[in-house]
């Protein structure tokens, strides 16, 4: 279109199209971050940070199978890692700060997207069937809420307060030896139950989340790539669930 022309009339809306002065439209950077896809980038990016952390965490937990000395030494090493370049517990705090920031970002994006999505359909259908989606994909919000509640419980139980909820003989030993702490905790059936439920929630969140994140990051541009992303999501979710379950189940059975 020539410069300065008044613009074409759109036959569908009989409104004027914006005149285009040059043949390329300028990309506006403003607003991308808070657009519906920009918020998903934040969601996927922080989600990937969680996945990497959760994999490391799972690997560390498996050391519990090697006995008290191995597990307590490992827990100690996490704190002395990087010394003397880092202070005692320095690396742990770097990881904690990254995770807290990721959590804030993840929940912020989740809340904004949920508000937008609810507003996009103010009147619900009287009858609605779901035919193309998995249960996991439709329960991301509830699963996320369950994970949030679990993370708070988990931090109080094993990091911040370490209360003796288990009627164990020695409350001091629970505070001092991580191995004694988890042994006392997972001997209780109800503690095991809470963790099994939380891991089912995590498994479902990741079964859809890993696939969804790859889709959000724009990696699935063919049907094959999409099928592969689904399979990777299923495998990684299964590895994480099973890997986390092994130590608690082992301790519980051992305590019988």
């Amino acid at each position: 279109m020539r410069e300065g022309s008044p613009g074409r009339v759109c036959p569908l809306t009989t409104g004027y199209l914006e005149p285009v002065a040059t043949t390329t439209l300028p990309a506006k950077k403003k607003g991308v971050a808070s657009s519906s896809i920009g918020l998903k980038f934040l969601m996927a990016g922080t989600g990937v940070i969680f996945i990497l952390y959760v994999l490391l965490h799972m690997y560390g937990n498996l050391k519990a199978l090697a006995g008290q000395e191995a597990f307590d030494t490992y827990a100690h090493h996490l704190r002395t890692f990087g010394e003397p370049m880092l202070p005692y517990g320095g690396l742990l705090w770097v990881v904690r700060i990254v995770l807290i920031l990721a959590l804030v970002g993840h929940v912020y994006a989740a809340l904004r997207l949920i508000a937008r999505n609810n507003a996009a359909r103010p009147v619900k259908y009287q009858v609605k069937k779901n035919v193309g989606s998995t249960l996991a994909s439709r329960t991301m919000r509830w699963g996320g809420l369950a994970l949030f509640a679990f993370i708070i419980f988990h931090l109080i139980q094993f990091t911040i307060v370490k209360p003796n909820l288990y009627g164990a003989a020695d409350s001091e030993a629970i505070k001092e030896s991580p191995y004694v702490m988890i042994s006392a905790a997972f001997a209780m059936w109800w503690v095991l139950l809470i963790y099994v439920i939380a891991l089912v929630a995590l498994g479902m969140h990741l079964y859809h989340g890993i696939y969804s994140a790859s889709q959000t990051m724009g990696l699935n541009n063919t049907a094959t790539a999409r099928a592969r992303a689904r399979a990777i999501g299923a495998v990684v979710a299964a590895v994480i669930v099973v890997g986390f379950l092994i130590p608690p189940v082992y301790i519980f059975i051992d305590s019988l």
Binding site: K29, S36, R116, S137, Q215, T222, A223, R226
Partner: protein, 247 residues
């Protein structure tokens, strides 16, 4: 066939609507869904009541006007448009609920008719290629790899019916948007405006009040043209590239 129909009746954009129950008898299984509604409307006119307003144009599955939510599925139980759906897909004696597309971005005009011009505004904001018109260029002067031509063509099949928005729990327009962005983005002619296109079209999409994508796939399962979910991935990739290039 004898059928019970529960149809959303709403006198105008701001009127309160409700489901009203009607009976139709002697429907042929070979009728299309819209022909069945025509029979109902003749019956209503004979009774002296207002006929049900619904949209249609081509009645051959190419214009995208005829969107109806049929018993909870966009365009009904088959993967086609409502006009190409036939009554043999239903059982004799069945109760069928018919509702309009429900989305903030698609306001109801009357009964089952919604205003889908939000889609036109998305297209106007970037879903085109700015070339000077003139004699058609020689088709072979710009080579296009086969896979890209195929993917562009598959994406170009979108008829803008809005079933994707209707079926999505978030009323998101991302499948439509992805189809348009992929269609032009796979072709050489679409490259110069590629970054600006995705940013502007997404901005309009969001302003029109569509929801965001949660990658669950109800849209693609409802799409009569079987637009696949990977167009949404391409849309996301294009936005990522546009944002990081900052051009």
């Amino acid at each position: 066939m004898n059928l019970t129909l529960k149809i959303w009746r709403q006198a105008g954009p701001t009127a309160k609507g409700e489901l009203v129950t009607y009976q139709v008898a002697d429907i042929s299984p070979d009728m299309s869904f819209l022909e069945m509604l025509d029979v109902l409307n003749e019956q209503l006119i004979n009774e002296g009541t207002e006929p049900v307003a619904f949209d249609s144009d081509c009645r051959e599955g190419i214009c995208g006007m005829c969107g109806l939510m049929i018993s909870g599925q966009a365009h009904g139980p088959e993967r086609t448009t409502s006009c190409q759906l036939h009554m043999r897909s239903f059982r004799d004696g069945e109760t069928i609920t018919i509702e309009p597309w429900r989305a903030n971005a698609f306001p109801i005009i009357r009964d089952l008719v919604v205003d889908r011009s939000a889609f036109d505004r998305i297209i106007q904001s970037g879903g085109f290629v700015s070339v000077n018109t003139g004699a058609a260029p020689e088709a072979h002067s710009v080579p296009v790899p086969k896979e890209k031509a195929d993917r562009a063509f598959d994406s170009a099949k979108c008829i803008g019916c809005g079933a994707c928005v209707a079926a999505c729990p978030n009323a998101s327009g991302m499948l439509f948007l992805g189809a348009k962005v992929t269609h032009l983005g796979e072709l050489p002619q679409g490259q110069p405006e590629r970054n600006g296109r995705v940013v502007k079209m997404l901005e309009t999409h969001d302003l029109e009040g569509f929801g965001g994508c949660t990658n669950i796939g109800e849209c693609s399962a409802a799409c009569p043209k079987e637009i696949p979910l990977d167009v949404i991935s391409t849309l996301n990739a294009d936005l990522r590239r546009a944002a990081s290039s900052g051009s």
